[in-house]
Point group: C2
């Protein structure tokens, strides 16, 4: 690899994006080393430029940015990528190598998503793929993924698990998919994780409880890293006996393990 190439840093961000109430202090949720690295970068690629600027303002309050926020280059990932169906392969992605120009010219480059680890449960992987194709070194800085915080807190199997993204919205297709995930989970004792648009949180929990076997365990983690956050894991029978209300304004991670 040429020493003149910059590095593509995958920069984790807090999980509180878009949630109500006071955001945690940045140092409560991100390592100082990550904040320092972010403060030093002049070139950025973002899932959403507005969110990226809000993040960099929080960085600046802890470690002053090397260059003024207004002078940073923040380029958004192409919209077509943002709308890509979850779970589709990246092979047909448009050519993103133009976005890597700063790295090819020797500048370090940061990638950020809306929340958490970039290129996980978001469209950033196509850019990382392009970086590997150009032999641009890729480094993920240490940070949290809501999926794995939820998995840890669930008490479900953490030695075999899968993230399957979003479930179908249509009722019959959703029910069929839930039963399919339960069968997959039973076959290899594999925890199945999924996410939902916040206003459909209640509907997804209802569908899980309606379609799964009584002894299958379902876990929900709401508002991870927020003071109001909580995790509940119970059998479907217990969820039926004692339902929980779910917030419709914070991200929830759902998981199941067949009993």
């Amino acid at each position: 690899m040429s020493s003149t190439l910059g590095t593509l840093y995958l920069v984790p961000t807090p999980l509180d994006f878009g949630t109500a109430g006071p955001a945690p202090d940045l140092q409560d949720v991100l390592p100082l080393g990550v904040i320092r690295r972010a403060a030093a970068l002049d070139f950025w690629i973002a899932e959403n430029a507005k969110t990226a600027r809000a993040f960099l303002k929080r960085v600046d309050a802890v470690v002053p940015l090397a260059s003024p926020l207004q002078s940073l280059q923040i380029v958004e990932l192409p919209r077509a990528q943002k709308g890509a169906a979850k779970g589709t392969p990246q092979a047909s992605a448009p050519d993103l190598s133009a976005l890597l120009k700063p790295a090819l010219e020797g500048h370090d480059l940061g990638l950020v998503s809306e929340a958490g680890l970039p290129a996980v449960a978001d469209p950033g992987a196509a850019l990382v793929q392009a970086a590997h194709a150009q032999r641009v070194p890729v480094v993920t800085l240490p940070g949290a993924s809501s999926l794995l915080l939820a998995l840890a807190a669930s008490g479900l199997n953490g030695q075999s698990f899968a993230f399957v993204g979003y479930l179908p919205v249509e009722t019959a297709a959703r029910g069929a998919r839930i039963r399919e995930l339960e069968a997959l989970s039973r076959r290899s004792a594999q925890t199945q994780l999924m996410i939902e648009t916040p206003y459909r949180n209640e509907a997804l929990l209802g569908a899980l409880v309606a379609h799964l076997q009584a002894n299958t365990r379902v876990s929900i983690s709401c508002g991870l890293t927020l003071a109001s956050g909580f995790t509940r894991t119970d059998t479907v029978a217990a969820w039926k006996a004692k339902p929980s209300a779910l917030p419709d304004d914070v991200p929830v991670v759902f998981s199941l393990l067949a009993g």
Copy 2:
């Protein structure tokens, strides 16, 4: 839930355990908020008590421990759990509720694994399951999992992925499992992640390259968060044309996505 219960905190640790060379500064890899919370806890459950003490010494150097290290209660997870086969369900786990006694008496309790997020790719989930059964609140503090840092850096599909633990060691069974994982990956464009005992890193990479199709992509991430760390993602054809030597003394995360 009773207000007299303590909380079970799942405390992330650095990923550099057992690796040679200088360890990163704790503040480079863990949020200050996590270090502060760890410094305040008097009761711990650990995968390995010696490693937990070494971690707490690093904590103490940043935020002085509330109580002297010698006076902390550090209890190891039962050995039987440590040797549990990867991917087995937790349902047959022994009763771990006795370990939760401090939380039932109102004290906050920390759980740590050898490296990274507890209860992910380690035997801690059984304890978390016991906590939920006793209605002890469970909170995962924000930290990195090597699996997801590797997934992000791989550029493989981050919208559908599975962690399958260790592969069989026996040659024929290993080859069959590799072909099975490739078929699973192809069916749903799902990235498959796995780990190996470090001294078998080279052998696993060799087996992947030998058994997978030429256009399947294989990614390896070595020494995550270390200065010497790197990620390489290439097609099997490219791995064959230009092999990489793998270190035998640092953890490596392997992943594949069928082409």
